[in-house]
């Protein structure tokens, strides 16, 4: 599908930023720089979520991924004090790896073209709302809308997929308890005994 107007600009911006910074992240020498570039990639991904009206997922992406997971990553990198990489970037393995990934990419694009069946190049349907027709969510008369996205996510998560949800939280709990147990030293156990 072909995007028009501002939407296209933003999409290409976010997409290019995401891919480019991912490449930079892999090739960065300093581990902290890598983490920061990963943060940029994740923020660009959140932007992409916003473009498909999944604003709840976008907000949660930044809150959890950037504010939680990446902060912890950075904690660990800083405490462990990972040294800078000094290796030479251009080795013989790079050429072989490059050739391999080129052929893999060709294969993936072929499969995508096959499955999308030409949907890449159709226009947006003319009945989709354009920017000019957006109703003002006027602040004089309240709209009282939780975004449809939030409602849908909430409803699905807590009714249809509640079992995987609970299992996921249990797994996290087990991980936390295990980590605390491993980190405790002998003498602390003596104090508790």
């Amino acid at each position: 599908m072909r995007l028009v107007g501002l939407e296209a600009v933003l999409f290409y911006l976010f997409a290019v930023v995401a891919v480019l910074f991912a490449v930079f992240m892999i090739t960065a020498r300093n581990a902290v720089h890598s983490a920061l570039l990963l943060i940029s990639t994740l923020v660009a991904t959140a932007g992409l979520y916003l473009l498909v009206n999944a604003e709840f997922v976008a907000g949660v992406q930044i809150l959890i991924y950037v504010g939680g997971v990446l902060v912890l990553f950075i904690f660990v990198i800083m405490l462990v004090n990972v040294k800078e990489e000094d290796t030479n970037m251009f080795t013989r393995q790079l050429i072989v790896g490059g050739a391999l990934s080129f052929f893999l990419a060709l294969g993936v694009i072929a499969i995508l073209l096959q499955t999308q069946k030409g949907n890449f190049f159709t226009l947006v349907s003319p009945s989709a709302p354009k920017i000019e027709q957006v109703q003002s969510s006027s602040n004089i008369s309240p709209s009282h809308n939780i975004s449809q996205n939030t409602i849908k996510v909430g409803q699905e998560l807590y009714t249809k997929t509640v079992l995987p949800f609970e299992i996921a939280s249990l797994i996290l709990l087990v991980a936390i308890v295990g980590a605390v147990h491993l980190a405790r030293e002998r003498k602390q156990e003596k104090i508790y005994d």
């Binding site: 950037v66 902060v71 904690f75 004089i140």
Partner: protein, 425 residues
């Protein structure tokens, strides 16, 4: 797609000089937000500068001193003098520090703080720049982004102790963010929306401030907010008399002022959100009788009301800093994980139970994604909040912390005197 939310007043696109040359659509959707942003940034940055003066003056009056009174009448030009001084200082970057990160961390901290200003409902109608549907989630996400600025600031100082201090600061901020988010959920159940302007409107419709429904939530939010912004009594990681230096040790001049602006902007945002969610935002019970709702005067008056409430909470921040001693770091973390978070969770459970109970009893009706209360509903909710929720949460906290040393601190007894004094050794 819903990228733009119109908040421009009707008269703006009809302004005489510009309406001939610029398309009214562009006026409403492009020029007006730029005007709003410009005005907001100007007002907020000036306010932050004068907040530093207010802090010094308030601390002086509490401590029986006068405070700055040399620069300008009553010291009113002091922030200008401080700003000029900081700008003129030498720009130092430590030798072995990571240059890019050293430069970027105060920027991250300040941008994260200022971006959140865009979604706060400073007033009715066009008093907010952007009323996105996930307003509250956006604010939480952006403040967790600001934690990064602190960590990177400590890292860039190239000193083990600064790094440890910064990491402790960050751990503290993250712990209290959890408590803040949970405390807000209680109020969300009443407003049924994440959009901040709609929260104020729901309080206006119900003609009540959410603090009456959620006293515990307000308290938890306020305490966690003080801890989140690393203010006293929770400022051990950056206190001067401690061994570990804070994250901004190596910063001087303009970069330091960026961290400073970020800290005060964070305080401003925490106060503004507390006012929006719990204290009714720009809504004051008699306001719609004084001015026609929707008129420009109404909006301006509502901005004034919001400003007064926020300033009151900011005064509370300053007052707390100069009255209370400092918590030790482990006590501070214990307060978050063993007191604030269980209380917030219990608050959510109890609030939800009483809402469901109210709906069963017919006192509350939920229609069109909004709640409607009868008089009985109001009485029921407010009384259960104060009579049942508060004591119950206190009991729960007591049970959880039964064996904690801090919970069992003794009361003051008068000292014994003069038992007998040995004359021989």
């Amino acid at each position: 797609m819903y990228l733009f939310f119109l908040t421009a007043p009707t008269w703006f696109s009809k302004l005489p000089i510009l309406s001939d040359r610029i398309d009214p659509m562009v006026m409403d959707y492009v020029v007006w937000p730029l005007v709003q942003i410009g005005a907001l940034l100007f007002v907020v940055l000036t306010l932050i500068a004068y907040l530093t003066l207010a802090e010094r003056k308030i601390s002086a009056w509490i401590q029986v001193r006068i405070g700055p009174n040399r620069v300008g009448p009553e010291g009113l030009l002091q922030p200008l003098a401080d700003g000029i001084k900081l700008l003129l200082k030498e720009d130092l970057i430590p030798l072995k520090a990571d240059k890019e990160i050293f430069v970027i961390s105060p920027i991250i901290a300040m941008v994260a703080a200022l971006v959140a200003l865009a979604v706060i409902p400073w007033g009715a109608a066009w008093g907010t720049i952007s009323n996105i549907d996930i307003g509250l989630l956006f604010i939480l996400a952006v403040s967790s982004f600001g934690v990064l600025g602190i960590i990177l600031g400590g890292w860039a100082s190239n000193s083990k102790y600064s790094l440890l201090g910064a990491l402790r600061s960050a751990a503290q901020m993250v712990s209290y963010e959890v408590a803040m988010g949970l405390a807000l959920i209680g109020a969300l159940m009443f407003t049924k929306t994440l959009a901040l302007q709609d929260m104020v409107i729901s309080q206006e419709r119900l003609q009540i401030w959410n603090i009456l429904f959620q006293p515990v939530g307000f308290l938890i939010y306020l305490i966690s907010g003080v801890a989140e912004t690393n203010r006293a009594p929770f400022d051990l990681p950056e206190a001067e008399s401690e061994l570990v230096a804070g994250y901004h040790t190596e910063y001087s001049g303009f970069r330091f002022s960026l961290f400073f602006i970020a800290e005060y902007a964070n305080m401003l945002i925490v106060s503004a959100i507390a006012v929006t969610v719990f204290l009714g935002g720009w809504y004051l019970p008699g306001l719609s009788y004084l001015f026609a709702p929707g008129s420009t005067l109404f909006v301006l008056a509502s901005i004034g009301v919001f400003g007064l409430k926020t300033l009151a909470l900011l005064y509370l921040f300053f007052w707390l800093r100069w009255s209370l001693p400092r918590y030790r770091y482990d006590q501070l973390m214990e307060l978050s994980w063993k007191w604030m978070i269980p209380a917030a969770l219990a608050n959510i459970v109890l609030t939800a139970s009483f809402l469901v109970l109210g709906q069963e009893l017919g006192l509350i009706v939920s229609q069109n994604n909004s709640l409607k209360f009868s008089i009985g509903g109001y009485v029921f909710l407010i009384s259960t909040a104060f009579i049942i929720t508060v004591p119950l949460i206190w009991i729960i906290l007591g049970q959880i912390n039964q064996r904690s040393r801090d919970f069992n601190l003794r009361e003051v007894q008068p000292l014994p005197m003069n038992r007998k004094v040995n004359k021989n050794n």
